[in-house]
């Protein structure tokens, strides 16, 4: 186990004294001849509630999520959760360690009801309390409080009770998203990765989503990482932003810093911020 942060000394901001919740060091991913990610490093600190990763299409954002959730093994680099090295952990164990995610679009199990979608996940892993105590549960047996956690998760996203017995094809986009989020938070995760949660929502729904995410981040005491294309949404919600481009980390900073960064403008708009048209 490596210490995640060398800044172990006391500083004015107490958050730096503890290891970051989730840290990625020099993650590189190569598929055959394609380099999807190149030496990407980021740290999600205890003080960060909601952070965001942005970048043009193909920048590697989903690949990064895939690395963080164990779908893809990085060619180089390491990943640490609370200071423990979890690089290369199997997918089904990552969920149990407290890292959850949603997917681009909607990927729910169409032959299971809403509630079954959520309990499938919640039964597979222990809740936060048990996790902290070091208890693990094999994916087969039902975690004792699985059903309660599922119910709580669905309540937290305000999923109407009436539709919990329905199957995904009958749901609206909003409710489908809510089910996805409920499924992901049923493990009481420490880190929740959301892949384009606002896609397809109208402005009213986006506002609702924003409020929901902020509320959740306080209620559940976890850390949200949001990948999004809607800049307004990102700027209004994130405390820290990382910008990826062509698999590399282009910039990292607060929303104001990112907005002012000429390199970010160039990446998105193809021209420096102050260039004459």
């Amino acid at each position: 186990m490596m210490p995640a942060s060398s800044a172990a000394s006391m500083t004015t901001t107490g958050a730096q004294a503890n290891p970051p919740v989730l840290a990625a060091h020099d993650i590189s991913v190569r598929f055959g001849g394609v380099t999807a990610l190149s030496k990407v490093s980021l740290q999600i600190g205890a003080g960060h509630r909601i952070v965001s990763i942005i970048g043009p299409n193909g920048a590697g954002k989903t690949t990064l999520f895939n690395v963080l959730t164990g779908v893809v093994r990085p060619s180089e680099g390491s990943m640490l959760l609370h200071g423990d090295d979890i690089t290369g952990t199997r997918q089904d164990r990552i969920f149990g360690k407290g890292i959850s995610r949603t997917f681009q679009g909607i990927r729910l199990f169409e032959q299971l009801t809403v509630e079954q979608n959520v309990t499938l996940a919640s039964f597979s892993v222990p809740g936060r309390q048990a996790r902290v105590e070091g208890k693990t549960v094999s994916g087969f047996w039902k975690s004792k409080d699985g059903r309660d956690r599922a119910r709580r998760a669905m309540d937290q996203v305000e999923l109407p009770v009436a539709i919990r017995g329905h199957k995904p094809p009958q749901l609206t986009l909003w409710n489908s998203r809510m089910v996805e989020i409920a499924r992901a938070i049923s493990s009481e995760p420490t880190v929740l990765l959301l892949d384009e949660p606002a896609a397809g929502l109208n402005p009213v729904e986006k506002t609702k989503l924003r409020e929901l995410l902020i509320r959740l981040s306080h209620e559940i005491d976890f850390h949200l990482v949001v990948v999004e294309h809607d800049m307004n949404f990102v700027m209004s919600i994130a405390e820290h932003i990382w910008v990826l481009n062509f698999g590399c980390l282009l910039a990292s900073g607060s929303p104001a810093e990112i907005q002012a960064d000429p390199r970010v403008h160039e990446a998105y708009l193809g021209s420096p911020k102050d260039a004459k048209p």
Partner: protein, 299 residues
């Protein structure tokens, strides 16, 4: 109660349906474990040897046959999963095992090879076969509603994301496939004690095709499809029995036509949902599924 030829037909069909359910399990998870004829053979020979040569009681011998077959399936599927065989390679792999077994049996004197294993007690009756089938159907229904069944449905639905939610995919598959093999072995044991004559060549491609086509015809979404497909095509073939040897032609022709017209097979998730919603409405139970599938509920 029934005439003896009808009894004979029904008994054989019950046995075939048990085997069909065994073959259905891996197919429903999109895994081409086509070794079912081999599992069948394992069960048949194991149980026959036990009752004939060692005087073991019939039920025990059946169980032993199922166990051996299940172990065989576990072995094959573990090996295939370890090297992560693609779908088609999986089929070749399992088929190679089944065919190897057949050749070994053909040349083995202990089981009288291709001369045929005789002298088996005729312990399987219609009652036994039908009774076991009924129990198995109930178990399947229970499985669908159990945790293991949910895992199975989720994996069959979207295998890629299931591990992300803590589901141990490989272990689940192995358990299901072992159950499939065991069912094949059970059917084999029943078969051995009904036909009372075993020849390894009976457990080759012909048996595989006879089992596989009807379940794909019936639909792979739910196990009812496997049952219906097997029953329907058997009855169809039987009705035309006087015309002679058209059984396979009918099965193949019907399957081909069905799949061209309706590639998902006869019974799909939607069909079953619609039927069960209709039934529930008819006996006035609240339905979990809303009638108008097109209209989303108001947000």
């Amino acid at each position: 109660m029934f005439s003896s030829s009808v009894q004979s037909f029904l008994t054989v069909q019950c046995i075939m349906m048990i085997a069909a359910l065994g073959h259905y399990l891996p197919l429903s998870m999109r895994q081409l474990d086509v070794g079912i004829a081999g599992y069948f053979a394992l069960g048949a020979y194991t149980s026959a040897i036990l009752t004939r040569n060692f005087g073991v009681a019939f039920p025990l011998a059946l169980a032993a046959g199922a166990l051996v077959a299940g172990a065989g399936a576990l072995l094959i599927d573990s090996l295939a999963t370890r090297v992560r065989l693609s779908g088609f390679a999986y089929a070749i792999f399992s088929l190679a095992f089944a065919e190897s077994l057949r050749i070994v049996l053909n040349n083995n004197d202990y089981v009288s090879g291709s001369l045929g294993f005789v002298g088996i007690a005729s312990d399987t009756t219609l009652g036994v076969a039908a009774g076991l089938l009924a129990v198995i159907i109930v178990l399947f229904w229970l499985l669908d509603h159990s945790r293991l069944g949910q895992l199975r449905t989720a994996i069959a639905d979207d295998e890629f994301i299931t591990p992300q939610f803590g589901v141990p995919v490989v272990a689940t598959k192995l358990i299901i496939f072992t159950m499939g093999g065991a069912l094949g072995g059970l059917a084999g044991g029943l078969y051995a004690h009904y036909i009372v004559f075993l020849q390894p060549d009976d457990f080759g491609f012909a048996m595989l095709i006879a089992l596989q086509l009807p379940i794909v015809f019936g639909g792979l979404d739910r196990f009812y499809g496997a049952l219906l497909g097997t029953a329907l095509l058997a009855c169809l073939a039987e009705v035309t029995r006087d015309l002679g040897q058209f059984r396979l032609v009918f099965t193949a022709g019907a399957t081909l036509l069905m799949l061209i017209w309706r590639p998902t097979g006869l019974l799909t998730h939607d069909t079953i949902d619609a039927i069960s919603a209709g039934v529930k409405r008819w006996i006035s139970l609240p339905t979990g599924v809303s009638r108008s599938r097109q209209k989303p509920e108001t947000p």
